[in-house]
Amino acid sequence: MPDSLTPPQVTARPVADMAGSNSPEIKIATRDVHVFYGETEAIKGVSLEIQDRTVTAFIGPSGCGKSTFLRCINRMNDTIDICRVTGTIEMDGRDIYTRDIDPVQLRARVGMVFQKPNPFPKSIYDNVSYGPKIHGLAANRRELDAIVEQSLRRAALWEEVKDRLDQPGTGLSGGQQQRLCIARAVATAPEVLLMDEPCSALDPIATAQVEELIYELRENYAVVIVTHSMQQAARVSQKTAYFHLGEVLEYDDTPKIFTNPEHEKTQQYVTGRFG
């Protein structure tokens, strides 16, 4: 269990070094990305630039490819045999689909939170410490304890679970489980956090908690969130991309997408007339 008497302070990443700088840098740039499932083309040439320290929302009707595209960013699609990706996806200016990039290493830098809370059937502590352990992030037990505490604090879960870190993570409520998954993703010290409909299995109260958390995570990470909820996209994101049948029809600042979209389809979708 974490020795919480004198935990060494771990700073995951410098928080907004360039304080006051209003022009966030580009974290991920994609150019003409196509994704094929066998013969079916699921993504038809998507070019996007995702900014660091920003929440970017992907919205769009079901089956439009937003989740598929999200899974390209950490190469989770590699695990599907029939899936093929073309085009370039660059992170910090380096193509992540070249041979010299190890997908496993990439996934450590690009964390992911899934639609359904999926904690490991292990203790809360083991859930959070698993990533740091396999990537050798902690030099000793004290550091590991500190990482676990920091991550749980960042996921706004510490106060609720600090007395039962040895209890199974599967015993938590749905909202707590999802925050545990976020803590688990944060614990590997990623640079990008991908969230695939993180609130779709949660009740409104848990959703509010997770949304607040996402908003705060923006200070440290480039967050990409796939959501079906217009309100959620409007509440948490600064940038929004509207996906339609495997293409990005519109990508702009969130207020603009919701108040003054350029594309007619976007207008229809965000106002609830289509979708």
Partner: protein, 625 residues
């Protein structure tokens, strides 16, 4: 387009009479189905109960074993003394002489007995009685308190036939009728014979049994006469059918046969008449042969076996003791016994019956729990045989099987589920594994003997040289050989169970691990394998239970041999429990019947325990995601 239809009118059909009939029919069908189900369950339960009852009831006959208490004087020869003082535990001493002297002493010397009777006396105790006494004496010598030269109360294990008799499996003598005074006198000058005179009430039951027997014999003689008559008629018909041109030799031969058949018929008829007369006449004097029921009389401390029995007079031979032959014994001071099974039809002689009756009367026969059954190994003597060696053999075989099959099975299923590319070759392997699970186990035995024992040559090199070759020189097999064959047999089951339990791990767990940057190997070993392990263990335990009860492949590779010692390592010659059951079942000595059932019980206990463990594991580690 079809014509439009009035749906409202159709709705009315729901309340029609036909609809009501349909409902009733549906209920009826449901009740019928339930009845069939209950019937099937009842039949299955009844079959199980009958099976278990048969096994348990037979086992009950060998749960205890009988000993004869002998007061022996332990005098040993110089050669035996040397062996007794030898600290090497492998040097055994059989003190057969001591045991035999003890037996003679029990019956008062037995000086008048012939060779055959003496052998019957010695055969009362087990062949190993002397050896076991030797072991006791040897232990006493090693412990520094030698019994040599002392008198010792030795409990000698009784022979298997004797134990069967005492257990009532050969029938026991019943009261022949003893409600009269009985006077015993000498039969002339012969001291070994006696004449018994009595009044009505004595030996009534015995004479009744004899009359019944005579009637049965008469019926058999009549049947024989009828058979001869049929032969006569058939021959006559053949002679009549012969043409005039038949040579006289054939006719002569047939006529001679006719005479033989007719004489045999007359003889049988005469015999039947005589027997019938004896059966119906209450005053007849029966003469008793060895194939008649035995009538034994205990009077004045001695035993007389009757060879003639009339309504008020009987003659017999003195079997044991020295009954006071000029005395009249009042009713209830003597007993007459009738043993329905004739002496020639049983494995225990009248003399042995008499000795055992005296031993029982004196309380010299003690019954003890039969730990020998569990503690000793196979023996050709039924009373000495136990299952320990086979149990240890089964244990080593299971160890080898598990060590081979489990790791290979787990690795194969992990590879096939998590790493193997999904292509035609993988499908081909999968189909083959599923088919292997359905292959009769004896085929694996054939595989074992051809591949592992005879060897497979590839480019002139014997692939399995030396592995199991020893079996060719010595047909008895080892747990290593059995374990390899059973591992091959268990592999498909373990792989199928393993793959099923890996499939049952939800993909979200894999996603979570991969999303955190775990490699596929880390995902498999850190998350999938631990979650699938209870299911794999369950499958493996069930496969092990199946292997534990497997007989056919082991018989083929020679694990059904007679082995008197428990193996101390997997490479030793050994036997396994199911093949021991098979050997014992084929044994002619009847005590093995009960021992077979006991071995089956032990096997069942192990199988039930293993299956219970599997269920427990499943319940304990059952997870909901």
């Amino acid at each position: 387009m079809t014509a439009t239809i009035d749906m409202t009118a159709i709705s009315a059909r729901h309340t029609s009479a036909a609809s009501g009939a349909r409902t009733r029919q549906r209920y009826w069908a449901q009740i019928r189905l339930q009845a069939y189900g209950i019937l099937a369950l009842t039949l299955a339960a009844a079959a199980l109960v009958i099976l278990l009852w048969t096994v348990v009831a037979k086992t009950a006959t060998v749960l205890f074993e009988d000993y004869l208490v002998l007061d022996v004087q332990i005098d040993v020869s110089n050669r035996d003394l040397t062996a007794l003082n030898d600290p090497d535990p492998r040097i055994n001493v059989a003190l057969n002489g001591v045991v035999r002297d003890g037996l003679r002493a029990e019956i008062g010397g037995g000086d008048g007995l012939g060779r055959r009777e003496v052998r019957q006396l010695f055969n009362l105790v087990s062949t190993d009685a002397g050896l076991e006494l030797g072991a006791i004496v040897k232990r006493s010598v090693q412990e520094g308190a030698p019994l040599i030269g002392a008198r010792y109360r030795y409990e000698a294990l009784l022979d298997d036939q004797v134990q069967m008799y005492l257990g009532g499996l050969y029938g026991r003598p019943v009261d022949a009728g003893s409600d009269s005074a009985l006077s015993v006198t000498r039969d002339g000058e012969d001291t070994s014979r006696a004449v018994l005179s009595f009044e009505g009430g004595a030996f009534e039951a015995a004479r009744e049994a004899l009359r019944t027997r005579r009637a049965e014999q008469a019926a058999r003689a009549e049947a024989e006469a009828a058979r001869q008559q049929a032969a006569v008629e058939a021959t006559e018909a053949r002679i009549a059918a012969l043409g005039a041109d038949t040579d006289t030799e054939t006719v002569e031969r047939l006529r001679a046969g006719l005479d033989v058949y007719a004489r045999a018929r007359e003889k049988a008829l005469e015999n039947a008449r005589a027997l019938m007369a004896q059966a119906s006449d209450r005053t007849t004097v029966h003469s008793l042969s060895e194939s008649d029921p035995s009538v034994l009389v205990r009077v004045q401390g001695g035993w007389i076996k009757l060879d003639a029995l009339g309504p008020d007079l009987a003659r017999g031979t003195i079997l044991a003791g020295e009954p006071d032959v000029v005395a009249t014994a009042p009713a209830s001071s003597w007993q007459g016994w009738l043993y329905e099974t004739p002496e020639t039809n049983r494995n225990i002689s009248d003399r042995q019956v008499v000795w055992l009756a005296e031993f029982e009367r004196e309380g010299k026969i003690v019954t003890k729990p039969n730990w020998r059954l569990l503690e000793s190994s196979d023996s050709s003597n039924a009373e000495l045989a136990g299952i320990w060696g086979a149990l240890v053999g089964s244990f080593w075989t299971m160890v080898v099987t598990f060590l081979l099959a489990f790791p290979i099975g787990v690795m194969a299923s992990i590879y096939l589920e998590e790493f193997a590319p999904k292509n035609a070759f993988t499908d081909f392997i999968e189909i083959n594994i599923n088919n292997l699970a359905a292959v009769p186990s004896i085929v694996f035995g054939l595989l074992g003997i051809t591949v592992l024992i005879s060897g497979v040559s590839l480019f002139g090199v014997d692939l399995f040289d030396g592995l199991l070759k020893a079996i060719i020189e010595d047909p008895r097999s080892t747990p290593v050989a059995g374990g390899v064959v059973l591992a091959l047999m268990s592999l498909p089951t373990i792989i199928i169970a393993g793959r099923a339990s890996i499939k049952a791990v939800p993909p979200s767990i894999r996603d979570a691990a991969l999303g955190l940057g775990a490699s596929r190997l880390q995902t498999a070993t850190h998350h999938v394998l631990p979650l699938a392990m209870p299911g794999m263990m369950t499958g493996s335990i069930i496969a092990m239970a199946q292997a534990l009860g497997e007989t056919a492949p082991l018989i083929i590779i020679g694990m059904n041999s007679f082995i008197q010692e428990a193996p101390s390592a997997p490479g030793d010659k050994a036997n396994v429990l199911p093949s021991l059951i098979y050997i014992w079942k084929n044994n002619s000595e009847r005590l093995f019947d009960g021992k077979t059932a006991a071995a089956i019980c032990v096997l069942l206990v192990f199988l039930i325990a293993m299956n219970a463990l599997a269920v427990l594991l499943r319940k304990r580690f059952e997870r909901r995601w």
